[in-house]
């Protein structure tokens, strides 16, 4: 099975974020980056399928040169090779534009299965995978908790709301968006890190490609205005706890 894993590099989870001078994105200068966590689970699901059924795992990333570090990490964990669509200015593309770049880069590949995380931890639109499936004319399923290969098809377990699930049968080739927690994430081994250095990364420059006019644009990014008055209780742990108990007893009357 040839498996493509869409992987995005995003600001690390505990980053302190500030808006940049334009007010339309964050200041990335002091930010550390990492693999988008849901995509890490997509990679894990892809690697486990390959280990069981053979084939190849190819990482596909759209991002600036710094994203190469996350690609190397994925190669160190066991992906066979990668495609890096290099784009310095991700902001000039909307979701449809990014998915179009991915579709174009996949033209020579003929994959059996494409996996992405269900959403990114930065923009969180949760739709790049589905849009890519539509552009490629593939069937898809989202928020997947389990993948099982059958003959020429796959059987997946899709998460629904409030503890419900459904099983779906999908013919291959297909695209799945993977839910976090589908499997335990592996660490890269020393041997894996060594091997990753020699693995192929196909560079696809996006600089020359004219972007279609975006259908949506971010006009401003800002710290949310508080809608609720939160009383922060000060002092050391003991003092704060005592104040809280007083509030709960006499203010909210829940004690």
């Amino acid at each position: 099975m040839k498996i493509i894993v869409g992987l995005k590099q995003v600001p690390a989870r505990d980053s302190l974020l500030r808006t940049d001078a334009s007010g339309r994105w964050i200041d990335e200068s002091d930010v550390a980056f990492e693999i988008n966590e849901p995509d890490a689970y997509a990679l894990e699901a892809g690697l486990q399928l390959k280990e069981k059924h053979g084939g190849e795992v190819v990482v596909l990333t759209v991002g600036p040169p710094r994203a190469a570090q996350s690609i190397r990490e994925a190669l160190a964990k066991g992906a066979d090779r990668a495609i890096h669509v290099e784009e310095e200015n991700l902001g000039r593309w909307d979701t449809l534009g990014i998915a179009s770049l991915m579709a174009r880069a996949l033209e020579p590949e003929k994959p059996d299965l494409i996996l992405t995380g269900l959403q990114s931890d930065d923009l969180g639109y949760g739709q790049t995978g589905v849009v890519l499936a539509e552009l490629l004319g593939l069937p898809h399923a989202t928020i997947i908790m389990q993948v099982e290969k059958t003959d020429g098809a796959i059987r997946v377990k899709r998460e629904l709301e409030e503890g419900w699930f459904e099983n779906i049968e999908i013919p291959l080739p297909a695209l799945l968006t993977i839910q976090s927690g589908i499997a335990k994430l592996r660490y890269a081994t020393l041997m894996g890190i060594k091997k990753a250095k020699t693995k192929e990364i196909r560079q696809v420059p996006a600089a020359g490609i004219e972007a279609a006019a975006p259908a949506v644009e971010i006009s401003s990014v800002y710290v949310p205005h508080k809608t609720k008055q939160t009383e922060i209780l000060k002092g050391n742990a003991q003092q704060a706890a005592a104040q809280l108990v007083e509030r709960l007893k006499f203010g909210a009357r829940v004690l």
Binding site: T95, Q127, H140, R158, P224, A237
Partner: protein, 325 residues
């Protein structure tokens, strides 16, 4: 100029988020001076459509076809694409449900558009809607504008608008029969199921103490468990805790777990990602204990303590025992 709301039903029962989205549409419609219509799809939905038409809407389209009896992305996308091409709305609003997440990006792509997903609010600028949505797991907000001609698409987050603001009205039910063929439906869904009989109904609890990533490891859970015991409440958790198997799935609060609204909700070491907040923000009194003063959980908290949970929680247990005598 018009707004079309796609309502959601499964097996004849509404998804309650449908009416929150309808409320959002009615509010936008009033501000923009645009009429609002709605649509509901399934094999037999005339009765549901009539129910929806009792609100202040112009029309409710009953999209009926036997191939819509069970949800598939292929059939729903095709049916809604046909309705939208026929009705020609400026703005299509959908509830941000798991089903909408599955088909709405595909639907928008058919029109060369991008869905603005999971919007939490809006305002009108220059006669056009500006949608607000969260970025970076709720740490920042963004304003988004549509830069394309109609139709545009947006989905609305659970709890962002109040369904009880809807006023009664007299809408017209109109039948719409899409052209669908079984051979164009590529996926075969099975019957929805639950993993195990869920023994625990968190929605009945008056007090809930919930634990998140901040607890660091399974062996520390007892720290928070003691707080639940001292308060006489149920112990619950955010998703990563249940994913790791540190607490059973039946104790998960959030979009994929239970939605609760107790009189007291204490969030310990939970940053407050959107997926968790939608499951608990209706609680009467919310307390947050977190070491990061910028954690989004403080956005919804009535009382907050910024500090190390391993110091704060034991102190709190002691104070509660004292107060209870």
């Amino acid at each position: 100029m018009s707004i079309l709301v796609i309502l959601e039903q499964r097996g004849g029962a509404w998804n309650r988020m449908s009416f929150e989205t309808l409320a959002a549409a009615v509010q936008m419609g009033r501000e923009l001076g645009q009429p609002v219509s709605a649509a509901v799809a399934g094999d037999r939905v005339a009765a549901l459509a009539a129910e929806a038409a009792a609100y202040k809407v112009e029309k409710v389209y009953a999209i009926e076809h036997e191939l819509l009896a069970r949800y598939t992305a292929d059939a729903y996308t095709a049916a809604l694409e046909q309705l939208i091409r026929s009705v020609g709305p400026d703005l299509v609003l959908l509830p941000h449900t798991y089903r909408v997440r599955d088909f709405a990006p595909k639907l928008a792509t058919r029109f060369g558009r991008v869905l603005v997903s999971d919007a939490v609010g809006h305002r009108i600028e220059d006669g056009r809607p500006v949608l607000v949505r969260q970025l970076f797991q709720g740490k920042l907000n963004a304003d988004l504008r549509f830069t394309s001609a109609a139709p545009n698409f947006a989905s609305i987050q659970a709890g962002a608008y109040r369904a009880d603001s809807l006023e009664a009205g007299v809408g017209v039910v109109e039948s719409f029969v899409p052209e669908l063929s079984a051979s164009a439906i590529r996926t075969k869904p099975g019957e929805p199921f639950r993993e195990s009989q869920r023994g625990l109904d968190l929605t009945a609890a008056g007090i809930i103490v919930s634990v998140g990533r901040g607890i660091k490891e399974k062996d520390n859970i007892h720290v928070v468990e003691q707080l639940a015991q001292a308060l006489g409440g149920e112990l619950a958790a955010s998703r990563p805790i249940c994913d790791n198997g540190w607490l059973p799935m039946e104790r998960q609060v959030g979009s994929s777990g239970q939605t609760v609204a107790p009189k007291l909700y204490v969030a310990v070491g939970i940053s407050g990602a959107i997926q968790h907040l939608v499951g608990m923000k209706g609680s009467k009194t919310i307390v947050a204990i977190n070491k990061d003063e910028n954690a989004p959980i403080f956005e919804v908290a009535d009382y907050g303590i910024v500090g190390d949970l391993f110091e704060v929680v034991p102190a709190l247990v002691e104070e509660i025992r004292k107060a209870k005598g």
